[in-house]
Each structure stands twice: as C-alpha cells, then as structure tokens.
C-alpha cells in the first residue's frame, strides 16, 4: 500500500470521479477504486508506467501535463489529484489553476524542500540535496520547481486558493510532534487539499 493512501483516501468521498495527474504505475487509482469505488483516469507520460497501468486495468491516458489540460471540461471531476509531480511540471502555478478549474477539489502532495536535511545539504555542505527521497543530481533531475510548505501556502494566498486540509509528514509518512510543530523544517512530504 502506498504510504500516502490513508490520508488521501479519507479526503475522497466514495464513488467520486477522480483525475490523477502523473498517476505513475496506477497503484493509487487502483487502491482508490478498490477502497472508495472511485471512477476516473490517470495521466502519465512514461511508457513503462503506462504499461503497468494497463496491466492493473487502470484507465491511463498518455498525456503530457506540460502541454495543458484544456481537453478536460470545467468541474468535470470531483477530485483532481497530483502526487509528487508538482515539482516536475514546467508551470506549477498554471497546472494548479487548471486543476482547480477541472475539479471541485484538488489534492496535491509534494516533497518539502524546506526540510532540515535539504537545508543542511545547502547551508552546511554547500551542495544541492541528494537523498533517498530526492535521488537526482541537480543536472539530471526531473524536479525543476522545488518549493517549501510555506512557499506553497504563499502561492495559495496569492491565488485566493482555499486550503481545506494540510498534513505534513516525515520520511516514514508519519505525522509527529515535530512535523506538527515545525512542518516546514521537519516535514518531508506535504499533502494539501484545496479548493477555490
């Protein structure tokens, strides 16, 4: 089971129509279909992950998020999900706008670049952070728009996006005293539920 599933699952009503942007191997959609009877689609561009989706019977659509989402109608989904993909798109703020146009609610998860490990790498070693969770070197990373929990909240404020829920977890996907007290310092992954 995916570590973020229990949190995301609780934010999705049974039978919801869901669009998963960057759906990977389709495991989230498959689990949501099994546990929440959701319908919907996943968008993916990686051929290997698309194959895995086909194998699972997930409705995967080969589509590049950077080429827009104009083919999806306004408010055509209950929830639009994007897990660990925001940092890899070319214009995160525009994708966010599109998500909120297409879905009544959006769930977004992203790696928190404000985490103390990242800060240590940069401030202490003077190097870009490389870890198990961010395994790429700066020149070959698909992650081109890292942000922190605070950065994302600032963007939501600037765009008048309403944050319904925010959960920040550590590398084990646990909510701890530390992630609760200082999410931007101790959180590894931020999970937001937002709406207009």
């Amino acid at each position: 089971m995916r570590l973020d599933l229990p949190i995301i699952r609780d934010w999705i009503r049974p039978g919801a129509h869901v669009l998963d942007l960057g759906c990977g191997d389709g495991s989230l959609l498959a689990e949501l279909a099994a546990e929440r009877a959701v319908s919907g689609y996943g968008l993916e561009i990686d051929p290997i992950r698309i194959s895995l989706c086909l194998e699972r019977g997930v409705n995967v659509i080969e589509q590049d998020l950077d080429r827009g989402l104009g083919n999806f109608g306004d408010a055509s989904f209950d929830t639009v999900i994007m897990t660990q993909t925001l940092q890899a798109v070319r214009f995160p703020h525009l994708v966010l706008d599109e998500m909120l146009r297409i879905g009544r609610e959006c769930i977004i998860t992203f790696p928190n670049f404000g985490n103390w490990r990242c800060r240590l790498h940069l401030a202490g070693f003077g190097r870009m952070p490389v870890s198990r969770f961010m395994p790429y070197t700066w020149y070959d990373t698909p992650n081109i728009h890292f942000c922190t929990v605070f950065d994302f909240e600032a963007l939501c404020r600037a765009k008048n996006i309403h944050i319904i829920n925010r959960v920040v977890v550590d590398t084990q996907s646990r909510v701890t005293l530390a992630t609760r007290a200082l999410p931007n310092l101790f959180g590894a992954t931020a999970i937001f539920r937002v709406t207009r």
Partner: protein
C-alpha cells in the same frame, strides 16, 4: 536437446476460410435490400464453454478475412496481421477465439461487386450497393449470431477497422466488452476526403474502367488502381520513413553529364511495385466502395454531431492507440476519441506509440505497441477460462 520455437513467434498454422450464407434480407443504410448474401471468414483458437473469449477483428481499407496463418504448406505469405494473432502473440489464440471476416462489398470472397447477382446472372460490378460502416457491423452481428457469440470479449480494428469497432460499441453496447480502436478517427478530415477522391478519380479515369463494367469487358483498370494505391501508400508512410528507407537512392540511370538515360529513384520503383501488386489482386469497384464507406463514416452524425452523446451509448471499456508519425489518422484524431469518451465518462486507456512508420505502423510488430496490446488483452479474458472448448457452432 530439442529447440522449441519460442511461444511469442507461434503461428496459428494452416487455416481454411469458411463461407457463411445468410438468407434473411439485409436492408442497407442506403435503402437497398440484399435478399441473400455471403460472408467469408476465418477463425483461430477455440471458443470456450462460456462463449466469453471471442474476439472480432475488423479489417481496414484493403484487408480481408485472412488475418493469420497460412492457407497451405507452400503458402509463403501469412495473413495480414499474423505478427499480432497467434499462440503467444498479443492477440493470443491460446486465450481467445479470433474471428476475422471479409466485409460485405469486399473482393476476397464475401458478397460484393465481383459476385454474381442471382436475379440477373450478371456480375454486380458497379451496381453493387454502397455499403456503410454500420452495414458492416450489422452483417458482423449476424455472423456473431450464427457462431453463437452473444458478446464479444473484444472488437479490435485499426484505421477503417477502428471505425467499425467504435460503431459496434455504440450500436450494440450489450454485445461488446472491450473496444480496441487503433490509428482511427471519428470521421475523416477534409484532407483525408481529398486523398480518397484523387484515388477514386484515378480509377474512374482509366479507360479500362468502363464505368465499373471492366470484368464484362474482360479487362481491369490496372493503371487507375495502381495509381490509387500509390497515392494511398504515400499517405500511409511518413516523410521520415521514406527518407530512411529510400532517400534519393537511384535504382537505375545516373546524373553523370553526357548521359541521356532517365534516372529512376528507388522510391519510384517501390511505389510502382506496390501499385502493380495491388492492381492485380484488388477489385476497383470494391476500392471505390470501401473509400466511400470511409468518407461517409461520422460517428456522431446520428447524435447531434456530439461525440460525447454518441459514446454515452457505449458500455464497454476502450483502448485507443495512435502512432506519432501517422499523419493520415494523426494522434490528434485519437485524442478526440479519448476526450469524447472521457466526456461521456466511459472507461478508456490511451497509448500514443512513438514510431516513424506512419499510418502503416498499426500493422507492424512495434515493441511498445504489441506490449501494450498484450498487457491490455491479458486482463480481458483470464487464461484459465479458455482451456475448455465449446461445442462447435
């Protein structure tokens, strides 16, 4: 130690076509009625006891019922989709009971312009009625009835075949579980219509065409048919592929000064060969009929030109596939299908294959293409349920 042929290269072996006669009159979309008619078809694999593993293959413009295997031990060329149909292949005949037919109006054995009208004793020729995609689906449904197939596990088609598959999903939603639409479109673009018109004009302008009565005149409009095929062939390939395959290579002659001999490019000789081959084996009236059926097809016409409304009729799951370099049925046309299906909230997966073979790619064993087909189809019928055969129909 004996060397076993890998399963992935298995052939269905030697197959024989069967002819099915239908004596119930068939009212066509054009209003004319065929009192009796015949379809030629082949089957591969075994229909299971639950009759739940049947797959229909719909052919494209110049296709026929011979989709896989060989007709004799000396037959050198297998069926047109042999790389995809067979034991261990993506359309796995150990799992599926595969039905392939020659559509009505064809020239490979089903009733068409080459068959004799019993009322007049004359070859039908240009008087054979214009059939449409919906007529093909109606006749395929009659064939399914005869074979005892209440519901297809999958209806699969590329190009014009994909149009038939979509028509099946909409006209007979209760009889299709999966619809596989490959390199197709919901209707042709103006450019596509134009290419078909040029091809038809080439045939009709051939002095040997005789207004379609060429067989009565003991001749064939070879030139016209060959040109039609050459035009078609250019549109089925990509610029890139033609560049890779032929470039500007000369087959004969040279550009050396002092020589008057005409230089011939490799691509010329290739096209001429393709054209000539086709002209000897295909019926000109069928070509006119098939291209018109392609032109007339418009999935959403009966649904207020709203493809979303059209697809709301469907209940099956869809797999839509397109090829990057296909400009005759471009990926954008497939994306329109997907968008309409998403709008109608139907189950759909879409795969866009990177390939430089153009429209022709759908007939080729491209690794990612076949892999996607295989993975999708493995879920359609679990392997175990096809182990026991049903009584022969």
């Amino acid at each position: 130690m004996s060397k076993e042929t890998p399963a992935a290269t298995g052939s269905v072996g030697i197959v024989s076509p069967r002819l099915q006669r239908f004596d119930e009159p068939l009212e066509l979309a054009c209003g004319r009625v065929l009192p009796a008619w015949e379809l030629i078809y082949e089957t591969y694999g075994t229909l299971n006891r639950e009759r739940s593993n049947a797959v229909l293959i719909c052919h494209a413009l110049s296709g026929n019922h011979h989709a896989a295997g060989f007709h004799s031990s000396t037959d050198r060329k297998p069926g047109w989709w042999d790389n995809c149909i067979g034991p261990g292949k993506p359309i796995d005949t150990r799992r599926f009971f595969v039905v392939a037919l020659n559509n009505l109006g064809g020239c490979a054995g089903s009733t068409g312009p080459r068959s004799v009208d019993p009322a007049t004793g004359r070859i039908r020729g240009p008087e054979f009625p214009q059939v449409r995609v919906r007529d093909w689906v109606a006749t395929q449904r009659r064939l399914a009835d005869v074979l005892g197939i209440g519901c297809w596990a999958a209806v699969i088609g590329g190009s014009l075949g994909g149009m038939q598959a979509m028509r099946w999903a909409i006209d007979h939603p209760e009889r299709v579980r999966h619809c596989l639409v490959i390199a197709a479109a919901m209707r042709l673009s103006a450019q596509n219509l134009a290419f078909n018109e040029i091809a038809r004009k080439a045939i009709m302008a051939d002095p040997q065409f005789h207004d379609g009565w060429f067989l009565e005149h003991g001749t064939l409009p070879r030139q016209g048919l060959a040109i039609a095929r050459m035009i078609g062939h250019v549109t089925y390939l990509s610029d890139e592929l033609m560049g890779d395959k032929f470039g500007r290579e000369l087959r004969s002659g040279s550009f050396a000064s002092g020589g008057e001999a005409e230089a011939e490019f490799q691509v010329q000789s290739y096209l001429r060969y393709q054209g000539d081959q086709f002209a000897d084996n295909f019926d000109a009236n069928t070509y006119l009929l098939m291209t018109r059926a392609l032109d007339y097809f418009d999935l959403a016409r009966d649904h207020g030109d709203d493809p979303v409304a059209a697809f709301r009729q469907a209940r099956c799951r869809f797999l839509v596939m397109a090829f990057s370099s296909d400009w005759r049925f471009a990926p954008q046309r497939s994306r329109e299908i997907v968008d309409a299906l998403v709008g109608a909230r139907r189950e759909v997966a879409y795969v866009e294959i990177e390939a430089n073979e153009g429209h022709d790619a759908f007939l080729l064993p491209i690794t990612r293409y076949h892999d996607a087909l295989r993975r999708y189809l493995e879920r359609v019928v679990p392997a175990a349920s096809s182990t026991r055969g049903a009584d022969a129909p």
